[in-house]
Symmetry: C2
DNA sequence: GCTGTTGGTTCGTACCGCGAAGCACTATCC
DNA sequence: GGATAGTGCTTCGCGGTACGAACCAACAGC
């Protein structure tokens, strides 16, 4: 039941590092980290509020505000679902898609830099292990890598 | 310059997973994640506001409120620095120390569960790689593992 | 002493996240 | 086809988070 000594701390601190990097990058792009998560989640395609709530792990009431602010920011747009008058689809605007692309690139670049000192083999190993951890736990795809695994 | 395909996404999603687990645990203990970070950072010993600002990566103005709320919550206490009347030391109260201990244990347990499906060897490897990543980047010790590395 | 610096706080602003309650529409059942 | 239950989303009120600018008190150097 006990994990390897130091592993938990390394995971927490590593997460802290990634989080900080992510937040700094978002700020540099003029968006909030949460808005960054939102637009990245929408990169593969539009989603309904319910799906977004699921993917982002937020209460729906929290999502309303986030989407509204991001919409006011011009990155995202709501549209009525043709099949269900109640439902709302959220999609990236063209500028939103551009910002998402830039942001995604910037985040990738900055995070790549964090593991730059590791050898190729080590990076591969790290990727495999993390990927395996993700496979064993339900983690929505909030950030994808276009390049196939 | 390009990291292994999928590594960046795995890091981001893994971070997302750890973050969620951490936040859920904090909530279950009746504290906010930020207060959890604060009390964990204070477990090794008292710190000044400036040091805390450094460790937690927060603006000093942000810290004032966090410490005040946590103090109002009875987990932490401010005291004057004997050598510098301006300076303030922040330390855990006895209940704060107890809560920190419980929280730390709960977080460790929950995060251990996330890697439960990995073999011992894989966990070790993951720990080593993450530890190496941390070594190459300045990451304050916001969460320690008493057991020595 | 005067002056520049440093440690913290206050203030105003924007954002985040939740649950409870509400509203409008859909689906179901008779 | 009309009452009833359920669903999708928003509104509201609340507490917490985070920042920069401005401020104040105390230290430090000359």
């Amino acid at each position: 039941m006990e994990a390897s000594a130091g592993l938990v701390a390394a995971l927490v601190r590593g997460s802290f590092l990634i989080e900080r990097t992510y937040a700094e990058t978002a700020r540099a792009q003029g968006i909030t980290p949460q808005q960054g998560v939102l637009i990245c989640a929408l990169m593969p395609g539009a989603l309904g509020m319910g799906e977004l709530s699921e993917v982002l792990g937020l209460a729906k009431s929290s999502l309303t505000g986030l989407v509204s602010r991001t919409e006011a920011n011009g990155l995202v747009i709501r549209s009525a679902d043709p099949d269900d008058t109640r439902a709302v689809n959220v999609a990236l605007t063209s500028t939103g898609a551009a910002v998402a692309e830039e942001f995604h690139t910037a985040v990738s670049s900055r995070i790549s830099a964090l593991v730059q000192e590791l050898s190729i083999a080590e990076r591969d190993a790290l990727g495999v292990l993390l990927h395996r951890m993700l496979g064993h736990n339900a983690v929505p795809v909030v950030f994808t890598d276009q390049r196939r695994w």
